[in-house]
């Protein structure tokens, strides 16, 4: 198995698997966030469930953390090898003639997402861990909505969200179908999946942006 992960194809498949998990996770995450627009109670209820359910906390969450870390670490590992393979650059290189900007810049859209994940970690995760395990406050199932609203007061954070999610959209515009190709499936080359991919890469980031902007305007 370690040999598999040392090979270029094995790494690529692992990259795609982690990406599939992240794409699945984003759907759930967005679904929860959207409820905050029309029902603070439902949002609180779902957040409370996510934050206290042992299956989510001790099975899904570790898998998620592993998936994110694996994905970006492997992204850097692949990028490094690719750079070694292309030390001398062309004087004139017309990349746009044969590929999309998104596909050629996955590492940069990825780094933008990573910067956002760090911010997100500082914003939500550290306070959450602090609340639960360090200070050991009693659980208040109604606290989540207020915390969320509070986050979207400063305009800089809303702008950071919007920019990060635009990069996520660009990452996914190539990544969604690319992940199928990496798994050895040609389905990503068919029109249906290309359209689903396009829809996914617009709807998901747009959804997160709408939630952020909504709370910025309505607190």
């Amino acid at each position: 198995m370690s040999g598999f992960l040392k090979s270029s194809i094995g790494r690529k498949i692992a990259m795609a698997l982690s990406a599939f998990f992240l794409m699945f996770f984003l759907i759930i995450h967005l679904a929860v966030n959207i409820t905050s627009i029309f029902s603070p109670d439902l949002f609180n209820e779902l957040s409370h469930f996510m934050g206290t359910n042992p299956l989510v906390q001790f099975a899904l969450q570790p898998v998620l953390v592993f998936g994110v870390v694996f994905h970006f670490v492997m992204g850097f590992v692949l990028e490094l090898k690719n750079r070694k393979a292309t030390i001398v650059k062309y004087v004139q290189d017309n990349g746009a003639a044969n590929s999309t900007w998104m596909s050629r810049n996955m590492i940069y859209s990825g780094i933008a997402i990573l910067a956002f994940i760090v911010l997100h970690f500082i914003d939500f995760w550290i306070p959450e861990l602090n609340h639960k395990y360090i200070v050991g406050m009693p659980e208040d199932p109604t606290r989540y909505f207020g915390e969320l609203q509070h986050k979207f007061v400063p305009v800089w954070r809303v702008i950071a969200y919007v920019v990060a999610f635009i990069f996520l959209g660009l990452h996914l515009a190539h990544g969604f179908t690319s992940a199928f190709q990496s798994m050895g499936s040609t389905a990503g080359r068919k029109k249906t999946l290309q359209q689903i991919g396009k829809a996914y890469s617009v709807i998901i980031p747009l959804g997160f942006i709408i939630v952020a902007v909504f709370h910025f305007l309505n607190h």
């Binding site: 090979s7 270029s8 690719n82 650059k89």
Partner: protein, 248 residues
């Protein structure tokens, strides 16, 4: 037409190269790109200069020897052709044309526009073959039934001429299109099954060892491939690779 050429000149593999400007005049639009290069070289020889070294052999688009990165694209701006089939009618009078060698760490420059593509040979030697006994008792190939669909797809994959345009076009210098084609041409046929697992494992291992990059599925290779090899070959290789590893 009259043209300005910016060409990579490099004395040998150790020398530091640079782009050098040349002028060529009265180029006919009916000439092939390599004929235009011949005109330049004749000019250089006549004036006592070193001609530009470039690879070519058949000049019919079948051998895969010609290369050249022309105006930022492998085999130039046309599609589905090699450089020897690129015609000067694709360019205009007064154009400046940039001509560079394939750039990839596993394809080091030997001289000027010629690169060493032996890495492809070594990948082939690692598994791009089938073991059949040809010593006088060869079987009739038709004794093995093969579906038309599989035969067609295998033939399409076998069209790869090993030119290296895929590597040259790839931002990662990945050789997956080439190796995918070579793996596919056997994976689709019954003769290829016996050694299928070893073949894909060994060829991929050699590809990695040579220092080619990873595949990001940008698709640049299939656009620039003169023989229409598609990303489906890479997908098939990925499946073959998983299959081979699951089997152990």
């Amino acid at each position: 037409m009259n043209l300005t050429l910016k060409i990579w000149r490099q004395k040998d593999s150790n020398a530091k190269g640079q782009m050098v400007d040349y002028k060529v005049n009265d180029i006919s639009e009916h000439m092939s790109f390599l004929e235009m290069m011949d005109v330049l070289n004749e000019q250089l020889v006549n004036s006592g200069e070193e001609p530009v070294a470039f690879d070519h052999d058949c000049r019919e688009g079948i051998c895969g020897m010609c290369s050249l990165y022309i105006n930022g694209e492998a085999h130039g701006p046309d599609r589905g052709i090699t450089t020897c089939q690129l015609h000067m009618r694709m360019f205009n009078d007064g154009d400046t044309i940039t001509i560079e060698p394939w750039r990839a760490s596993p394809f080091p420059v030997i001289k000027d526009l010629i690169v060493d593509r032996m890495a492809f040979e070594r990948i082939q030697q690692a598994g791009g073959y089938i073991s059949v006994n040809t010593s006088g008792n060869t079987q009739d190939a038709n004794s093995l039934p093969i579906s038309k669909h599989a035969a067609d797809e295998a033939m399409d994959a076998a069209a790869c001429i090993g030119c290296g345009a895929c590597v040259a076009s790839c931002k990662n210098s990945s050789a997956m299109l080439f190796v995918g084609a070579k793996v596919s041409q056997y994976a689709l046929l019954p003769q290829g099954q016996v050694e299928a697992a070893d073949r894909v494992k060994n060829m991929v291992a050699q590809m990695d060892l040579e220092g080619f990059g990873n595949c990001t599925n940008t698709g640049a290779c299939e656009v620039e491939c003169p023989k229409g090899i598609t990303l489906e070959s890479i997908a098939r290789m990925n499946r073959e690779f998983v299959k081979a590893n699951v089997k152990g």
